[in-house]
Symmetry: C2
Subunit: 339 residues, 2 copies
DNA sequence: CTGAAAGCGCTAACAA
DNA sequence: TTGTTAGCGCTTTCAG
């Protein structure tokens, strides 16, 4: 069952069928109707592969994520798919699972499927990935990595905005020893979050004590471990800001087993506002990086770069703000209670 | 850059390049080496669309899920992708979001991309979906829906196995009033879980009190609401089994705001063992439906049906066992303490 | 073992 | 407005 079969039955040429299906205005309404009737009747669907082959456009966008099981990503994938479908595009999602090998494979799969553009949302910059794709002038959009590159668009995250609000919130709650658990500092995004924290502290005249900044790895286990170090300090912090929500969850798990009550004894703030954070107990106060908005920007960047005939030589920059989300994991500094 | 370009540079025919790339044994080793060298040098990747078109095989499997943001699915998608890639297949994931319209679109996208088989993991049976796909003899694999259908393979879930263990665990902890919060009873899977609960209770001579079986909807909100009903009973249950983990999370959230301490005052058990359940506090005791194993079965069924030349007329059945996972949300019935 | 050539299903010039 | 036709990039007979 192909276009010729439809053409034969509708007693027209396959070109007319093609035009009808693609809603080319030059087809006589009554002819079109006849064609559509046959199409419906036989339940005909044009082959995307044939279309792609002849048109040179696959109508596929690639999306490379770290791992879809990371709670940060399902929402991303969901919105990306929704947006793509709305534009009659399909998406090819691959996960690198932090493995250089899988990264190569990802790029390869993208290329084999002739994707028209790729969004890289791995939160770690993968130069090797770039090479193959950039070489072929595939439009690329990165989130939050490195300096502007030629032909590559970038979504920058304004970490400071949300982190500043969080820090000021804690200061208002009269916390004086505020700790920060970072992500793996090899990650640009983790580094940027830490820097935003330090800067926010300085802004309001609170020196960020280096002893209170300890490195985690964006997993709950890393959070627990980092928190343990903090607990062994002579002067424990009364509030902790974490580089992501999973880290905060680790902290809260440790609190649970150590009988430290959040937020009474300790205020905890996360980052990302993953879906999960509203379900843990107590619901986690966090900093949101609006995923829907992020994807909207990513898609827009991709779309923009794909539409233009002349390649986007310098690449475009977009900025996404972060913002504070107040829930129940923060409270007044117990040492400074309403005494 | 196409196969002919490679052929020209390697001074062979495009047929030879094709054979080389596809590792056809008839190519002279030295010729093959020459071809490979050019291929690597130019970074050539064959076009999947051209391949699909000429071979009649897309090397794509479809996966239809309810919504990828449901914590049950990311793991599924992940393993499915991994398995597919291992077999040199790509996957096309679509979400129905419980919307009949999206379901139609899903089927359409699958068909347009000429997927070789589709796994339907929506946990609700969508007859409408079947029509278009079955009509075209696309191999289909369902999880846990309805009676065996011609040409459709099925993965059945043995709910009883895990639920029985959970019930017996609670009985051993001397709980006597055990409640069950169901999922939406329009769902076959929810119904099956409830039935397994009733049967497990009867097996050990504990009548399942109808008053203690209340309907939820598989969301935390539904769980909270159902739990509230249970709380208003003259004789409250000391243990609750939930139709899924999200429901259990709702129950625990309500406990948190009502100062009911889990597991001291109330034992809670979930179902699914989603990733999240180990991170909530206390870590949730639950019943696992091994997702990795599930996907393995699904893929195997698909693979099996795709390989066979003659269509699988009657469809095949597979069974997946469920099993109990002990964590910290259950304890001895407080009314029967070691007094 | 290798090459020539047909053709997969469709779109887009070009002709009528 | 509609039809004819070439050809997208590849695989696969069929000859040689």
């Amino acid at each position: 069952m192909n276009i010729r079969e439809i053409a034969k039955r509708a007693r027209v040429s396959s070109a007319t069928v093609s035009r009808t299906i693609n809603r080319h205005p030059s087809v006589q309404p009554q002819l079109a109707k006849r064609v559509w009737r046959i199409v419906e009747e036989l339940g005909y669907f044009p082959s995307t592969q044939a279309r792609a082959l002849v048109s040179g456009r696959s109508r596929i966008f690639g999306l490379i994520v770290s791992e879809i099981t990371n709670p940060f990503f399902p929402e991303i994938v969901h919105v990306f798919e929704e947006t793509a479908v709305k534009h009659n595009y399909e998406i090819l999602v691959t996960s690198t699972v932090h493995d250089p090998e899988r990264m190569k494979t990802s790029a390869r799969r993208m290329l084999e499927h002739r994707v028209e553009g790729v969004a890289v949302m791995t939160f770690g910059m993968e130069e090797s990935l770039l090479d193959d794709l950039k070489l072929r002038n595939v439009p690329l959009v990165f989130v939050d990595v490195g300096p502007p590159r030629a032909r590559v668009s970038n979504i920058r995250i304004d970490y400071l905005h949300g982190i500043r609000q969080a820090v000021q919130h804690l200061a208002a709650l009269r916390h004086e020893k505020i700790a920060f658990i970072t992500g793996p500092l090899t990650l640009k995004s983790a580094l940027a979050r830490k820097d935003a924290f330090v800067r926010s502290m300085n802004e309001i005249g609170m020196a960020a004590d280096p002893e209170l900044i300890v490195e985690g790895d964006h997993t709950p286990e890393g959070g627990e471990e980092a928190f343990s170090k903090l607990l062994s300090l002579r002067l424990r912090p009364s509030a902790i800001l974490c580089s992501n929500d999973m880290t905060a969850i680790g902290v809260m798990r440790k609190c649970y087993s150590d009988k430290i009550v959040v937020p009474r004894d300790l205020s905890v703030i996360g980052f990302d506002n993953i879906h999960l954070s509203q379900y843990i107990l107590p619901p986690l106060t966090t900093i949101e990086m609006a995923q829907t908005e992020l994807v909207r920007l990513v898609f827009q960047a991709l779309w923009h770069d794909v539409q233009r005939e002349i390649p986007n030589l310098k690449g475009t920059e977009y900025v996404l703000k972060t913002s504070f989300v107040l829930r129940d994991s923060t409270a007044m500094n117990p040492g400074k209670g309403r005494s």
